[in-house]
Subunit: 256 residues, 2 copies
């Protein structure tokens, strides 16, 4: 990947009037903040923004989005869960767009702690999930991913592109100065996802349940909020691995 892609993002899928864009990375890692991925879905003239992140990413994410769509045309912002790297920019995003923000009903009364929040622009996602649509006709599925790691967590599936936006699931923590956008070889990638999942995901039972439900969809890519995107055979290799993982409360004595 060229240096410019780092900060300018990359189109992951494009067909007819439907486009999925990965919004790039911070060039400067000096802040010490964990690296995150943001994604934008555009259908016709309207957009859905996923997990746009906190204050310190805001200028870059705004700049990259603006290359693809007018900010006024973002109708929906999806927060997979309540962590600061996902949602702490909420007041900024409410200010700069007219979008409605969707987040688990569990966190509706927690996000106002970030500061001034207009409740009329928040929409709660019920535990069982649902669908969110653009006014131009695209429909995204909001699929329960609770306890992975957040108790109120969602993955988002785009049936047009087949991309599963998996939130923390599938996340990697890159070593300093190492980044790649796609997983080329699952075995080589494994060392930087293994510890992350063992520590953050709450149990193997919950992982297996998520894998079984996700596999009901045709998945072309798994796009996590941290690390690299799984595509081609890495999709199934990751799902097979996750389905058999022992983690969290399974190995509790490792962490106390």
């Amino acid at each position: 990947m060229s240096e410019s892609n780092y900060t300018e993002g990359q189109v992951l899928f494009e067909e007819d009037n439907h486009k999925v864009i990965w919004l790039g990375w911070e060039k400067d890692e000096g802040s010490g903040a964990v690296q995150t991925n943001q994604y934008l879905i555009i259908h016709g003239s309207k957009g859905i923004l996923l997990d746009p992140g906190g204050v310190h990413l805001f200028p870059r994410v705004v700049a990259v989005i603006s290359r693809y769509i007018d900010l006024d045309n973002i109708e929906t912002i999806l927060f997979s869960h309540q962590d600061p790297d996902v949602s702490s920019g909420i007041a900024l995003w409410l200010g700069i767009t007219n979008a409605a923000i969707h987040i688990s009903e569990l966190w509706m009364r927690f996000v106002p702690h970030f500061g001034l929040v207009d409740f009329s622009r928040l929409s709660s996602i019920p535990d069982s999930g649902g669908t969110v649509s653009t006014s131009t006709g695209a429909a995204l599925n909001m699929l329960p991913a609770h306890y992975l790691h957040s108790p109120g967590n969602f993955s988002f599936y785009d049936p047009v592109s087949g991309i599963l936006f998996s939130s923390d699931i599938g996340g990697a923590v890159f070593p300093k100065d190492t980044h790649y956008l796609f997983v080329d070889d699952f075995k080589t990638h494994l060392p930087i996802i293994e510890g992350f999942h063992q520590r953050l995901m709450t149990s193997g039972k919950v992982c297996k349940d998520w894998v079984e439900r996700m596999r009901k969809n045709r998945i072309s890519m798994i796009a996590p909020q941290h690390g690299a995107i799984f595509k081609d055979k890495a999709v199934d290799e990751f799902l097979d691995w996750l389905s058999n993982l022992q983690c969290g409360s399974d190995i509790l004595s490792n962490f106390t």
Copy 2:
């Protein structure tokens, strides 16, 4: 409890040079934010502040603290976990105090997403916990409470007062316009803690493990981050109940 206590806080324990203070509640619930408790421990002239909360509580918490101690004498701020209602005021607290902030090593790279954070003032708590002391000689135990609900979560125990600051564990969500500081009758209190624990806590196994480890201490009160404080026989009644709870991944199909 008198109306003034709501906003002015209340001393929970006082003996010799050691004092534990509950820092009050918001008078105005209009923000829609979930109610939270903040606590302050003063030993001699120095203080430790626990889970001070987000932006919207900041003026009240600062005002109440200032009734008891000079802000410059707060040496340590403890964050039990990464949720916005605990930690989103981090930049404000770093600005107004000279304190070091302690948080799970798991969240060290997540909190910078709140905004500008000086890493030299952050201290990571290892998974196994440890002790944090004031320069005046008080030592607080940091006890692992992982997956309850956060994967990187701590309870804090003060051996002088016997108070266990339990983070979300023991939390209640009060119905609108109902508040009480102490649990008088556990059975009456149960309906407003039951759903909270079933949904937020990740499994009965993890709850039982936490209870067993906490019971190694002499507990005079359990002071959670939400809801009311358990004391007298309500302490054991709560621990017995929690030890046998089925929750989270035990009853996963309830939530998908």
